[in-house]
Symmetry: C2
Subunit: 362 residues, 2 copies
């Protein structure tokens, strides 16, 4: 039923999240079943495990573990760029159904210790990926370097020259600049060809630097930046531009790791992803653009069949009070002592209220 | 003894810190005696207590408490700008030996809930301060406002127009822009007349945004910014410019308040202040400029007699291993249960090593 405020309910195909950290062990067992809870049935699983997924067989084994935990979800598997990813290994990965390779510059985020410093050495790998139609996912930040004036605030902007260079060298290679946080990144991706796309997270559409300063549960890499940057992200997200789409970068950490002396980087949005997106798009008066951003655009870029309501759907309803839980309990492994206090994950916007909730699924 | 690396020891008059939070209760009892430990015997005590120091008598009473805890230290007393500071109250404050009035824009830092939104209403107060030769200390940040594009990264730069306007309106009023964090602020203060000065903290000379992101014990307001900003702060600090000097903004918080869900803003440097400063000035090859920055310049601006070694001194010595303690225990009040675990303060650069220490005092 439509009102002055827009519709009271919307029904969409299950959404797609083209960037998600599903972790390992008890954390994986906890968050993987939450993907559907967030309204998502296609999810690209990041390879920055310990150890990272550096070979085809490792990714396939990981995919099997995930599939067991969420049988209805389509998992897009990825590999972590590393010297073992020879052109031969790329051919094998592609033939095995692995979709993408992720690049972490060294030291920029969680489990990026194995990351790369010089991309040129990987040009033969990228050439093989281009040939085999794989996707290159970029954590687009330069490592901080005071001597060069690089810090976490301009690390993304400084990386854009590398993106442009990669696109010039490999014009047919599909490249995704992930979790864009700046107007500069948005403008750059817009200016490039059809093989370059960009994901945006739910949290970067909501917050700015003020929201993570002194709030470790909102701290992630890349960090949220200026209000003008957030404005640019919101503008492109609701514009319908086909090369911009949702990649949540949901990255759960135990509460203890977020509230210690050195809070880990990462924001957890998985179980609330579509309520967060609907709340924001409604606030911006653009609910009609939601399906494009959370499903159509990304699926087209990743060459997946369009999602159709006839294949399953979620219905979101305007509500006054979807309470975001203060915490989610991490499933303890059976081996662990029953005495120890269970650790938890604090979600994005914990304890606040969202104005849209998922009321039914099919 | 001089070597290629410069001198191995330096002897200076006791330093002056023109911005320090000495708190109340057990925290005050803990940190006030540490002022001397840091090599300082003149300290400007901030008035943002609970409740804030809004009247002359309150500041005088506070000064007595501080003096009892550190009999050798000269405390410069301040008042918190508020509607009770009428021109009459300013006259009374000045006659009572209170030196300065502090302005907190509303909501920008710890205990700034009583802060002001519009400075124009205080012009009669400022006129009285000018007449009575008091100093106006400014927390120079605009409150964040997404609609106006203001966030914690540009809040200081946006405030500079207000500083310029105050200086234009009250050209003889001595104004201190406190804890400058940006090149823009340095350039602005340099461009203004002799009645406008600027303090810089030890921590802002050391860190950038990267150091407080994910490190709550380095989080303070204003936040540390870009490497180019830190470069500008360092450059002016070692330049000998007479209107730039040390104001540590040392701001202790209990460890629990720094490592929770919403870490409090503030960096604690009091007991290590001169070792921190000597380590930095030595690294920059400018130990000869240290006395100017930590004593001469600020004392001249505040119209205090120059500090002389004949009145007492500190000797700093190059060392390989001054270990910064992991924590300092907060003195528990006698009334408190002996069972409860004592809380602590985590200092700046906890657990690391400094390369200068205070080896003797006179």
């Amino acid at each position: 039923m439509a009102t002055d405020k827009g519709p009271e309910t919307i029904t969409l195909p299950w959404a797609s999240d083209f960037h998600c950290h599903l972790r390992q062990g008890t954390m994986m067992e906890t968050v993987t079943p939450m993907v559907e809870q967030g309204g998502v049935r296609t999810v690209l699983a990041m390879p920055n495990l310990t150890p990272p997924l550096t070979k085809t067989q490792m990714a396939l084994d990981y995919g099997k573990q995930l599939q067991k935990l969420a049988p209805n979800v389509h998992f897009i598997l990825t590999l972590y760029l590393n010297p073992d990813l020879t052109p031969e290994e790329i051919a094998k990965a592609a033939a095995s159904g692995i979709t993408a390779v992720k690049v972490y510059p060294s030291g920029v985020t969680t489990n990026s210790d194995w990351g790369v410093l010089d991309l040129k050495q990987y040009y033969p790998t990228f050439a093989a990926m281009q040939e085999h139609n794989m996707v290159l996912c970029l954590h687009g930040e330069c490592p901080s370097d005071s001597e060069k004036g690089i810090c976490i605030l301009n690390a993304e902007e400084r990386f854009l020259a590398t993106l442009q260079e990669l696109h010039r060298e490999f014009p047919k290679l599909r490249i995704v600049l992930e979790h864009a946080t700046t107007k500069a990144a948005v403008d750059c991706v817009k200016s490039l060809g059809d093989t370059v796309a960009c994901t945006i997270t739910a949290h970067h559409l909501h917050i700015t630097v003020d929201d993570w300063a002194g709030q470790p549960h909102h701290f992630c890499k890349p960090v949220a930046k200026y209000p003008t940057d957030r404005d640019a992200l919101r503008e492109i997200a609701v514009s319908g531009h086909p090369r911009f789409f949702l990649g949540s970068d949901s990255a759960p950490h135990p509460r203890r790791a977020k509230q210690g002396e050195k809070p880990a980087a990462g924001v957890f949005t998985t179980p609330l992803l579509m309520p967060l997106m609907a709340t924001l798009f409604d606030k911006l008066g653009c609910l009609d653009k939601l399906e494009g951003f959370v499903s159509t655009n990304g699926r087209a870029f990743y060459q997946l069949p369009p999602a159709s309501i006839s294949d399953g759907s979620i219905t979101l309803t305007r509500t006054a009070d979807l309470q975001v839980p203060a915490t989610y309990v991490i499933q303890e492994s059976a081996a662990k002592s029953a005495d120890s206090e269970p650790d938890t994950i604090v979600p994005f916007m914990a304890g606040t209220k969202l104005s849209w909730s998922i009321t039914s699924t099919q």
